[in-house]
Symmetry: C2
Subunit: 173 residues, 2 copies
């Protein structure tokens, strides 16, 4: 485990903490498609999912033709959960300091792509399905991001309007 | 691709369709902990996330001590998104027929564990954090299920109470 007070040889920012990763992975993922967005560099991406949704920018999920039949009925969903792979994120930080925070935050209390398994999750609004291409609103990732899964969003179990994130509410006061 | 009209040598039910899986996986996952539930066999598990939540059964997520520091602040969240790995599910079905359906359904229109990447997602209510043990309500998986990620649930982006799943609403009429 290493903790730093200044940017160091491991690329850590002040306050960030890294741990050694396990010697090997335990399971494998297939990339089932690619996400097409207008954003080619991180600084161009929306800051978060809310900004992405409010921007109204339509992104396209291009599913590999292998999985075409698995999409039947998806067009009847108003919203989907999209899982994708943040392939450029480091995986060993337990405390991290995203650019817009002034202090280190614990990985599992954040939605940052930096986590042991960089599986990102977005709830998106489905605009249109054209064969294996899904047009959606609400993604904030880089162009060409590998896609892992599509799930129907069920309000009955997935929508918790009263949910709160205490530490985040504190930072807004 | 294979389609069947009766249970066949590949273990397919009538109407199910399998496709060949890619020759190799594209990325690796670390199991970061284990989920402890009272359910040792599939038939004992709650039928879905709603039933799990309404049952009020408390399950425990045991996070590997390696990631202990990554949990700081998680205790301030009322709800979490938990990602876990359905390690006993087959990955090659594009049309499947879960036991309680009378027809084949497309994989990406279902929340079934059977999918190319069997990453399950549950929104849970956090009851208590005790070191690296998280007590939660809302999981419906087998005991000893490998855990992949914990994310804070943000109502501002994750809660869409008006979302609808057309095909599912049809089946209830």
């Amino acid at each position: 485990m290493s903790q730093t007070t200044a940017d160091d040889e491991f690329g850590l920012r002040p306050g960030e903490v890294a741990v050694p990763l396990p010697a090997q992975t335990d399971a494998g993922l297939y990339f089932i498609g690619r996400i097409r967005t207008p954003w080619k560099a991180r600084k161009e991406c929306p800051k978060n999912a809310r900004e992405a949704r409010e921007s109204g920018v339509v992104c396209t999920i291009e599913v590999d033709p292998r999985w075409a039949q698995a999409l039947k009925g998806v067009e009847t969903c108003s919203h989907l959960i999209v899982l994708y792979w943040m392939d450029r994120a480091r995986r060993d930080l337990v405390i991290q300091r995203p650019g817009h925070y002034d202090t280190g935050r614990a990985t599992f209390s954040l939605r940052s792509p930096v986590r042991p398994n960089p599986v990102a999750l977005s709830v998106v609004r489905l605009v249109r399905v054209d064969g294996t291409r899904l047009e959606v609103i609400g993604l904030d990732c880089l162009d060409d991001t590998p896609q892992l899964d599509i799930k129907p969003y069920f309000a009955s179990t997935d929508a918790i309007p009263e949910a709160t994130v205490g530490w985040h509410a504190e930072t807004k006061r």
